[in-house]
Symmetry: D2
Subunit: 342 residues, 4 copies
């Protein structure tokens, strides 16, 4: 049975594994003070063209989000997110567990804009309500869509003007930056967000993300928060070496591109079959509306995520490809799919 459920079903890309294995003969300092961490940070800062960025290596997305956000906010301050946002839906209330409300905005494409946020600011006008303080976005979004440079810049300027922090969840940042429609660069992320993370787990690492504070006034004492949340790995270098390889020779974007290209092939297949998408297909996730019977067939033979009913006749399924998806898998699926729709 083939599998387009997710992009974290294979251990790690061979280049990362090799770099990881090479650490086996060294004696390294614990808790992130080793040479691998230092080197990886320098490399990231260079890519970001941001010599003062404050960088921390984390073991996964949820712990990165909750540790950073709870560090930044005061107890009565809240997060603004799309209602489809990962922190709102798929982290079992991790933000709330640290004491903070997540205020949500309905969106059709998973993206936030100043226009969508404005009413929340207007509404929350006194101390009987939480104080909105941090805008959470992800790129790619939960729906696989991406932010353009213009969109991100406008959002950041709006946040600046309204004393809001802008946090970008980069679990699938590689896919965003490698998307055909993308015009964002790493230095843009350093310029137009207060804090973001470079996701590794979904881009060829066996675990690990690099959290980057562009605004270092909010990262003071961050290691205290990390330790308190259980987010400092004793052997932090195991993440650092992986991120370091990803950030060399364009590998990060290459893996993102491969993920997108594999989805692109599926997209062509579905378009040729006259199917529509619940969200604009821009990266490695496709949200496809299938006639119910066809969806059934697919679910019987493939592991893909069932998102829900589009309407009474159509079912929405998510196809997710990865850095490790092989041409062969797409071809076999195409062949099978062709039979079903004939």
């Amino acid at each position: 049975m083939y599998n387009f459920t997710n992009d974290y079903n294979e251990t790690a890309h061979r280049d990362l594994l090799k770099a990881f294995s090479n650490t086996a003969n060294q004696k390294l300092t614990g808790y992130g003070f080793d040479e691998c961490c230092i080197k990886a940070k320098e490399n990231i800062r260079k890519q970001l063209k941001s010599p003062s960025a404050d960088i921390h290596f984390m073991s996964g997305g949820t712990i990165t989000n909750l540790t950073a956000i709870s560090h930044i906010l005061k107890p009565y301050q809240a997060v603004i997110a799309a209602d489809s946002g990962h922190v709102n839906v798929h982290e079992t209330g991790a933000i709330e567990a640290t004491g903070h409300k997540v205020l949500t905005v309905k969106t059709t494409d998973g993206k936030l804009t100043p226009e969508l946020i404005e009413p929340i600011l207007t509404f929350h006008c006194d101390e009987h309500m939480v104080q909105p303080k941090l805008v959470y976005i992800s790129n790619t979004t939960e729906l696989g869509t991406i932010y353009s440079k213009q969109e991100l810049k406008k959002l950041y300027q709006f946040c600046q003007k309204n004393q809001l922090y802008l946090y970008l969840d980069g679990a699938r940042l590689a896919m965003a930056l490698a998307a055909k429609d993308n015009d964002l660069t790493f230095p843009d992320l350093a310029k137009y967000t207060d804090v973001f993370y470079i996701g590794g787990t979904k881009v060829g690492a066996f675990a690990g993300e690099a959290l980057v504070f562009n605004d270092t006034t909010i990262s003071q004492d961050f290691r205290f928060s990390m330790k308190q949340k259980g987010a400092i790995l004793a052997k932090s270098w195991i993440v650092a070496v992986q991120i370091n390889v990803l950030m060399q020779n364009n590998l990060y974007l290459e893996l993102g591109l491969h993920s997108n290209n594999m989805a692109g092939k599926l997209k062509t297949i579905f378009e040729n079959a006259g199917l529509t998408f619940a969200a604009k297909p821009q990266s490695n996730q496709l949200f496809v509306n299938f006639p119910n019977a066809l969806a059934e067939k697919i679910l019987n033979y493939y592991r893909v995520d069932k998102i829900g009913q589009t309407d009474s006749k159509y079912t929405c399924l998510r196809f997710c490809t990865s850095w490790a998806t092989q041409d062969e898998e797409i071809k076999k699926f195409a062949k099978q799919f062709q039979k079903w729709i004939e």
Copy 2:
């Protein structure tokens, strides 16, 4: 300037003040173990026809909600509420500050039904999402509407079937039980909720509510939670004596009825003027749609809550009457209002 902003702008009803003053000559045990508390609890249990109800005296609505709900839930469990619910909007994230997410449902009348809750249960199917566990309702609702006996019973049975707790916020319970359309009784509340509170602050008490656990399996050790949240008053009897008077000779319902009747007179005035309501007027809160210019005038001369724009031409204002509103106030307003609309 007259004032229809709220129902907590006068200290206390004279009967409560008198009973309160009478405690001044006694020496009483601290922390809720005194005779006033014991007597008041007995009285409440009698009214509820529920000899085993576990009752606690609290100083206000928000601290009652947060202490009870955080006591009942496990860290990963969530509250379900109407999006207009007090715990969702007007308690500055008090529930989230204790670690729990509030899941919301859009409603037109502020009321929850099994049909509205069902999709939340279906959606929250695994450990990547919070576990819905407690349904929060208020009666009257934030929009002044009320639950019928049939509605509450159906909701409770649905909760029982789905292992959900049903919590009823009774900040304005007197107005609900005294409403013309009401068919609920105190014993019904004991039967068809797991926990609810009898609100005093908005019904003639200077402070205080009585929290009632019908399901005593969830109230075990509740005094630990009370102390931890700062909710045990050293002199708990100051609340108990007030609630006790309210629960005697039908005073609680009488004060609720008076509040409703005063609103009823305003309702007639507005209906005669051809105005519409944003929510069905059933109790002491009226949500009235005024032409923008008229709303302006009212806001200049009266203290009432501006809810927002109904549409481009109409503004929604809330009129709230209370146990202490006097006929004279209504008449003066009526006279003034008549001039404006002529």
Copy 3:
């Protein structure tokens, strides 16, 4: 049976009751924006000679401590307290429930000094440990002892030098300021603490304390924290009018003095009987070491707190007098006691 258990067993002093009753004919704005609150704050600021003090009316000691401390600290910061401190022992982990560790120091007299705190600062040197940030003291202390002006000043200067906040719990501040050995004044408290509260519940109020921020950089947005913790009373004036009366015509200190004097009479009785004290008797609490048999007798006839065994032969009991203790009660006890020890 007579009762020296505590100083919160009678409703309220007659002057406070009278002022409270006088509010019954007014219509007042909710949530602390009424004229009574404004007037009481002005009065307090005048007594403190501190025109910029930021003052808030609270319903009790524990909720005051937890709301203020959790507002001031960042998630990884900790409180330093005497191991006998109220926040450490008798608030059911209220501080920890807001996420903060309480670091403790063993003391013989319940008082903190720079010398006692210094080792904690030295020890907590990196992010694997919490960051000590707020020093919690009470005056009088849990053991009934008091701080001299010199002691408080030194402690405050030490805190300033080490970027620590100094918080003073004034549940029994009246007794401290009225103690024979005292040389502190209200203006000293404004000068030598960052934040403190003027306790009412144990000094003739039926409920209520006035929280005073001297350092207003840490009180920004404090009303958000108050609302979130359920600490804003809808009818805040019920506290304000009481505190206002206490702060007029020296009543606060008079009630403190009366409490102390009553304890002073008990002290003489015990000294004459050759008994010793577990803590220096300076205010309205006496910690007396009784031979076990005598302690037994007392516990059979009086309600007093049993603190524990001083050693195998002696039992420590706490006698606590109050603003309402009457000469007659002392005399009757003296008579009975005399019989027992003859």
Copy 4:
């Protein structure tokens, strides 16, 4: 410069690395539902002779402690620990950050006994204080000492009798079970604790611990807590494969034994030099009292932990060896040390 600071300064044992690398060619299910996880759990259950044990793979010690303990306790319940306990000192208030107080007992050897715990239970008698509910111990302790079977059994029986849960932190469990004085086995841990973890990070794994619930009534819904705390690794198998290898062919105990043996050689060197130990040397950590000047010399040439002053003349240093410490390192140190003390 040589290094006896810690036991987590090298990536991973070669057998674990090999097993890990072997996963690179598989497609595995995310979040702990893959075959590696299933197989590793079966293997652990077999070693524990406990077919019903509920096992979860975690990324590190602190996140294991905080996730498990916060899952088990109700909001007002507290942990009992030795004052030297890791959760009390070296986790930046992680337990308190989840809302729970840590009650501490002074010990000389880092070990808890019924006699030490009893007074805490007696003292915490009402709702003004937290409710002690979980006893936290570690084996080996923070001081490198170990629990005998008889000690653990007595402690567990005491906990059972007093409705306390017994939690054992096994960060260095291998060293405990491989200690010369040890008589505990894996099945004993299943019998005499409610929950414990098999530490990997300090025993040859690059990251990872296996948390074992023996009492499965307290592990219900544990994956919700894991997700909420950021403790579910997308690729959980990276921990599982390592733990699985450790639990095969006695490797876990072998690595523990090697760690202990290396420390044993240092112990002989120090004993021959007439030095004393601050805690009984039983495992891979030695707490040695050096004359101040000698301590200075060592600190200049070696990375070891300075614990503090034993007294004015002696300084306590911690030497920590590991599964990766080589004979050569010990020999070189011995040679150098010999020169210093001659």
